[in-house]
Symmetry: D4
């Protein structure tokens, strides 16, 4: 596992990261759902069960519906002020989705150029202050590679891959995790809207994240 | 993994198994929480993520507050009628707990003799009809081995161990899973009441269950 | 318009027909939503606005989640007892969907042979008692014709087309209505789950139904 | 259809326009009811179903209980700031109604002189900035032309007709739409309070609006 | 006042009589609203304030939505079993109303012949057992005497007048009470739906009822 | 009736006046309970039923729990700004009550000297601006004249009587109204707490108020 | 303390005994309020704090609104079936109260003769089966001894005193406990309705009960 | 009893003191739960029942979740502004607990040095202004004296004992009260989380508090 003990790990993103977390506080053993019910909670649980002695502190800062522009607006309070040792970013789903579900309202979407430049400016001011960085690709649980929204989502994934390379970050390929799952499973069994997975899909994300970080299961 | 593909796996027990499941139906990808939020949901997710092609069907039949006497009362509909291939039983916590939190009401507790005989009668009529059996020890997240309730819980654990041996069952030592966790963690960080764990404790249970069944993480 | 004045028209089906109707009573001018908020309400409104003097009586008997097996179970009370002049049936979506979103629970799905035989037995006992019959194809708002669930849905549509032919029914091709809409619109803008459309999709269904019945807009 | 493609159409008014819309946002395909459940939603649905390729954007800015004085107070944010291509105004029902249901509180009503001058001032500052303008008459679903409130409502309708003429606007005669419906239908079957119609009455309004704009049903 | 002291007075009817009463019990001084908030509560209050020493017992048995057919169905338990000294009946509004607001569902209305015969059969079996009888006309708060629903309501009022005459009952002309009020007040200020009055209209009914019974205000 | 037509009548006081009114607005015919459910609503209803042509406008400004000190704090907005023609004040119950139910918290009560001086200062600044003034005595529905709280309440009643005399006001003796009612009725049948009457007690208050103002019942 | 250790003590009565208990189960340490919030909970707490080693089991069977007739109807299940060692009865408040707060409904009250005979029949069939019996007088927190309801309540208290004497029961004079409290406190500070005390009044009852049974505070 | 009559007694602390109090006001006889449901309410009730003539005024200022740092932040408004005659402080449970249940978030705990210095500074500025002071030890209902959290809690108890000595305060040893109770009772029967006791545990605290102050039960 690449992340050293006693690290504070902040994960920021959209509803996939949020997963219904209670924004009023961090999670506690008695259930205040500050971790949400998604991949962040699963990553934390794996870290605490397999490596309780390493004392990793996990903080969820996902917010449903957010795109990279929304992240920029809360970057100071939700990332920099927390002084994380490691930072994980998973953004882009809503930037693309709004281009397809409400195409008549382009002001709600973020197009590729703005996506990349905004994302880059966040990395510029943050990279020097964190020990480690994790960037996750956005995804669309759509096995049809010629679907226009899948094509567009893959463009954003390529931008994330490029940024991960330029900013010395660990890349988590969330799209690949779902593509693998779709080999045996119809998207309908993972997420009715092809975006918000259930417990199984979130564990696939957590596994991809942990294994990208070098986590070993024993 | 000992359980062959296409198996129907029923897990029965008390609130630890139940974990807030919606009794009105099995879980679906779109979120009806038939799996609950505990170790059963985590076992299912691990099976679907690591082995989607094996098509395991997991069914939660835990009910909060139940003891072995309550299990016997719903055994026909909740176990035999479902015709499981594999059956997992985790019962005993409430049988013991009621002896300590409401000692003036002995009719709410199940004492060792009745516990063993009722448990045995359930196994007698069920073992021939299932391909595999899993018995989990009850537990008390109390590192003080001389606590009277811990002593009593260990007695019940010994009964389960004996029955597992006699009825050719895989034993899942849930108490041991928590004892290991308590080496690095105070019980207060696992479960305020030392009985109902949060997400971390449930993953420890799921891990113990899976590894007892020979599950490998790759 | 093929349907003569003073006709009682019953529309039965699943959640598409139901559309949130209040099953406790028929709709009234003051808002008890017995019509639901879907294509049935729109058909009724068009009939009352364009032809108020014809006094058509529209009755919604859709029920969310139902497949053809569920329809058979309530056929006596929800169809025969109402003595409709015209009957419209729209069923099959759930029969197919369950094969893909919960594939491990085949008992929840209805496979083609049972679908056709059950559907046929309902038509056998009903056709002599109604003046007119309307059969609507099930649909999947999926423009990728090689998607396994779309392929399967088209099979059920073919069964409905055959039955409409054999039982002298007006066919409403709901799948075709959505295919036309998808020429200009991504499925995400019609229905997040590709099954339950919003107001726009329901008006497309109502239009298809009315025009199949020979309704003219002036 | 007079309105060219890619137009942004804002409809402002009182509860008839509002129709229960969620003011927190525009409508989406997945149901946030920004369109409300009235004639605006129906106009939008007709535009999207008959002419999906024209990409009309419809925005509802009705607010329950409002009179022309209330409209003036929110004109900047709810009309001018939105920079509509076409603007549709339907106001006057409450201006009149309050004169009859709470006659002891004249400060809640808007009398004809103020109604016309306020309305005119809104048109003065807005007409140069919009490509097209639609003015709808207020209405009272009361077939008795000698009823005092009907007489008064007709006065306001005449003011709207005059203004439509002076400001080059399309007139939608909502009162006439209901008068036609009342030829075959008692007001009790349209709206218990003779003001707020159900689904049928709203479709009559949508039809009147669309046909005034030259919409053809093909 | 015609009614002697210590009388038990039962008032039965529809929503006008019901007026939101809590059917689970009679009213008490501490507020369980068994009297409802309408004319029955006001009659009771007048009797208790002006004549506390006479100890009249008032019982409300109105039920919203009921017509004379519904009254017949609950006559035994709600009238005969209570053994009233005096009985007051106010029924007919819904019998008529349903002919106009849901004309396509004639089974929900009660037409004149059935209205009179059902009403008569109730009086036949009840008159011998009560000391006094009060019959109230149904009403429609519609000053336009040529409105079709007003014409129909007056027919029913005439039936009640005839029955009152034949069965030695005190007639309360509720329609006349509202006609008087409408001389100075538009119906909109009495009841938005012209059926369910507010506090003022209910006091007009209570006054008409009391004065018909010879109540004097000092 | 002393009050001339077209008068605006404001009634201010504590919970007896308030009676559950909705402070967000005046009452309307369609039920927004701005009048509350007490003597104010009954006074208004009597005025509208007996004298609809006089167009009295009644405004309730009672607030639960208030004493004369609280009235002074909201006097500008709730009395002077409304520019009433006639003003009715009913205050003092809480000023006394708090001396007996929470005697350990004297800061919550208003003792006689402060009561009189505060009351007088309100009258001083208001009397010149109103055409008529009504002062109501506070009351305690306690027939035992030697009860300490009754004795104290009578002291406050005497202060009100003196002020009414000095400021040319109509006195409404609410205490006397209840004393009369108690001749035939135990306090338990009027108000469980001997303060907050039900419908009957409020009508007794309304009658006392109206008759003090010279209202005739015909 | 007269009651020997390991005794099961059942307390039955009306709302004073009930005190908001949750009838679905006995109280537990984690708060299910089976004891209610009144004198029963306080008696239990005193027994557990002063004498934890005596293991008294306290069971609340009070039900709000009940009179002695209601007790008789549930005597078998709520008393005899529980096989109490000691039984405490506190009934009579509602038997009297209904004679004063709803005097027009005598069927809701229980008059002295029926009260005594019903009470006696319960004692007859129960006395032989219990080791100890406690009878509590009903009470009215009314210091005016000439109040008609107080006079009547004292009659019922005398009946209880007589029965306690005849059936070898410990008498708890609840009326005397409140009379003592009223020497320093106005009834308004104990209970607004002079029946349902707050925490202070309930502790006065618990103290009276315990001291009558010979409980010593050290 | 050491506290003289007419004293105002303020009790401040955490959830043990708070016990669900309604912070919007002090308790009243009619039930506004300003006292909460814990030891403060019981202390007050004992004082009012045994010594009603002494007129003690008890004020609860506990707030759930607070540690000594939180107390300091509200000291001015919740203590000094109230000008208590006697002040009772019970703080420290959360200061310790957070070190064990969320050890990864040290900023939520208060360590011994800060605990003592903050506590001392509060006493410094308060002692001269109060006539009497009561300091209660924090506690952990854990009979295992070698449990790490019990050891730590005892350290804090020792600090409180030292401060009580230095500032001339009455010490209430809450830990000792629970240790005594645990001689006969398992912690599970007192408090599931070993922190928040039920009614029995709170009475043990009230008894300890009262007896430390020299209260005699007569």
């Amino acid at each position: 596992m690449q992340i050293p003990e006693n690290s504070k790990i902040v994960l920021i993103g959209d509803s996939i990261t949020d997963a219904g977390r209670d924004p009023s506080g961090e999670s506690t053993p008695w259930g205040a759902p500050g971790f949400g019910n998604g991949y962040v909670a699963l990553i934390n649980a794996c870290l605490q069960v397999w490596h309780p002695e390493r004392r990793y502190r996990v903080i969820n800062r996902g917010t449903s519906g957010h795109n990279v522009r929304d992240l920029a607006a809360r970057w100071q309070t939700d990332v920099l002020d927390l002084k994380p040792d490691w930072l994980s970013i998973a953004i882009g789903v809503n930037d693309v989705w709004r281009q397809f579900d409400i195409p008549l309202r382009p002001e709600n979407a973020v197009f590729p150029e703005e996506y990349e430049s905004t994302y880059r400016s966040l990395l510029e001011k943050t990279r020097p202050h964190v020990k480690g960085l994790v960037l996750a690709t956005p995804f669309f649980i759509e096995p049809n590679h010629s679907d226009p929204m899948r094509i567009r989502m893959d463009e954003y994934g390529a931008i994330v891959r490029k940024l991960a390379n330029q900013y010395d970050a660990v890349l988590v390929d969330m799209q690949a995790a779902f593509d693998r799952l779709c080999e045996h499973t119809h998207p309908m069994a993972i997420a009715w809207d092809r975006i918000h997975p259930g417990h199984v899909g979130h564990l696939a994300l957590a596994r991809a994240w942990l294994e990208a970080l070098g986590f070993t299961w024993r």
